[in-house]
Symmetry: C2
Subunit: 362 residues, 2 copies
């Protein structure tokens, strides 16, 4: 076991702050990712919150500011949802092969997991506070102390008020039928399905309704998609896109990159995700770099709008080395760019280029 | 003038049914496309509807079926919206360069236009009829008689009931402050912003609320995105994706493909669109096939959620031949695939690969 009851097979990039991901081959063994296999991405020390003294503040453009204990929160109806959580830096490793991305974690394809979350509807809590006209964003603040923007601060971020009021958005206190683990935000976190994990603030202390997006360092300066010509030196002069919804993405979990297999049938399996309420409609697999494609079978997740989708297909490969690639199409008919070079950006976010593995058939 | 008061510069692919598009260089002259430059895509003869006898039926899963004259409809509040209308076959020509697509119109990049539409909120008409529980789709039927599926039928299609109830969806009777022209659906058409034009049924005769999508030939068999391995012969065994929302797309209007320019500054201008309520966030332009990019300036349309966005940048090109390409990024951070081969499908829909033009600098 590593820290925080994580399985020892986890790939730990950093102990402090704790940043660990799941090996892809473990990810598609269970539709619901075990808590002890689930990736954890942190910007600061993981706070040890005393549930008894814990209070959630709801303030800003509300009629009645609230201060809620966990007991108060548990009096709201319990809501459950299966939702995928993905770091915006998932698959950054593929971008780092194109050009260096200093100071960022080199995530493989395991900074993602799918869990059953239970808690309270954020909508119901906000309606209890009373939403004032003109409130456009729900800003969240965590209890974790992080360094950023030249000083110490708390991690924060925001989502549009429409998403905050959507039925799928939760204040979660359970994860896969367990009490929310400490490294996943105990006692309470946001779960904003269809959005990158960066907006699902952990150790949540405060929700502020406001006209503008959060001015927290991690909303304003981090988790932004910059144009390809922008670098750390020129960043200030460019706006960048605040990352919210995830993009369509497919990853091959087995075979693993570099695997050797026998000739004959090779089963290719993996996960696919879409964002913003879009669904995974199709997964294509190619063993000739996209010149021809086989349509994979979609397995679990097809009927779960906020979960990932598992997929599988068989390939019959001849002797020698092959590169197998996969790509998905979502319900808006959006698909993935072919190469990491096309989506490279200096912060290394949102790599949804075709995922490939090399296999040796002998 | 060609038929239907269209400008003679229009590119007419067919006179019967009438299918004509705008030359791209004319498209970015005006943010609102003139009615006589506006593309027209038809599957059958254009019906000459007598407004006096015209009635719109609203039936299916409603409390009170309605039959509304144009006078009845004009008693609802008048709503206006600026929205882009795009054929799902726009830019099919680029797919045909990869492999033949028999029996389909070879649209260039001009099967698109942006207009101010005025009419009645579909939502308000449906609420007047009373929506029953379980209604999931609004199916539309036109008065145009078309051939398809082995016989004569009326053109039809459907949108999800959530889109039918969205504030932007109109029953339009005016286009750019003129009475809706006959070739654009007089006296009444659907305008479903963010969706392909195929769902914005013209010469609308009937709206049916129902549990399933429309079973009309053009919903079930046409306007579907099939996987790359599917052909006309194998189609029956595959589901395909019913095309609804448009994908992010950018087109270079000037310079034109094949143009000669003098060395020095070349102004590159065009349009970009996104679908499903997403916005155009960025347009990149490259003169080295995507090895480096310049971020274009976004002009009109930035504040119009359902319109196209005009963009412009300057390039300084050396002597010789250059290929200039453009691509856009939408607010969900989705971007475009690089090559037409990647998105090729046997019906030739939804080509949003990078758009390129060749210019000779002399």
């Amino acid at each position: 076991m590593t820290r925080y009851d994580k399985d020892r097979a986890m790939i730990t990039h950093e102990e402090e702050p704790f940043n660990a991901e799941s090996p892809p081959k473990m990810l598609n063994q269970n539709f619901l990712t075990d808590n002890n296999f689930f990736f954890s991405r942190n910007h600061g020390s993981i706070p040890n919150v005393d549930e008894t003294n814990y209070r959630l503040k709801v303030d800003g453009m509300v009629d009645t500011p609230l201060e809620l204990s966990m007991q108060d929160l548990r009096e709201f109806p319990k809501r459950e949802i299966i939702a995928v959580m993905q770091c915006a830096g998932n698959r950054r490793e593929g971008l780092m092969e194109i050009a260096e991305i200093p100071g960022e974690t080199p995530w493989g394809a395991g900074a993602i997991g799918n869990a059953g979350w239970a808690g309270v509807s954020l909508r119901e809590v906000l309606l209890a506070a009373g939403i004032q006209d003109g409130a456009r964003h729900a800003a969240f603040l965590g209890l974790d102390e992080v360094e950023g923007d030249g000083g110490d601060l708390n991690y924060g971020g925001s989502i549009p008020v429409g998403k905050a009021l959507a039925p799928e958005t939760l204040l979660a206190y359970e994860m896969n039928d367990e009490i929310l683990p400490i490294e996943h935000g105990f006692p309470l976190r946001i779960v904003a399905p269809g959005y990158y994990g960066a907006r699902s603030v952990k150790w949540l202390s405060r929700i502020t309704l406001q006209e503008q997006p959060s001015d927290n360092h991690f909303q304003v300066n981090e988790y932004k998609l910059f144009a390809p010509g922008v670098t750390a030196e020129t960043e200030g002069s460019h706006e960048g896109l605040m990352l919210g919804e995830m993009q369509v993405n497919a990853v091959i979990c087995t075979p693993q990159d570099g695997a050797s297999t026998e000739s004959g049938r090779t089963s290719v399996r993996g996960y696919a995700v879409a964002g913003g309420g879009r669904r995974v409609e199709r997964v294509d697999v190619s063993s000739d770099d996209g010149k021809s494609w086989i349509q994979a079978e979609l397995l679990q997740g097809v009927d779960e709008p906020w979960a990932w989708t598992f997929w599988e297909t068989d390939l019959y490969l001849t002797l020698g080395e092959h590169r197998i690639v996969a790509r998905a199409v979502d319900s808006s008919a959006a698909t993935q760019p072919s190469t990491a070079a096309e989506v490279w950006n200096f912060k290394g976010y949102a790599n949804n280029s075709w995922h490939g593995v090399r296999v040796e058939v002998g």
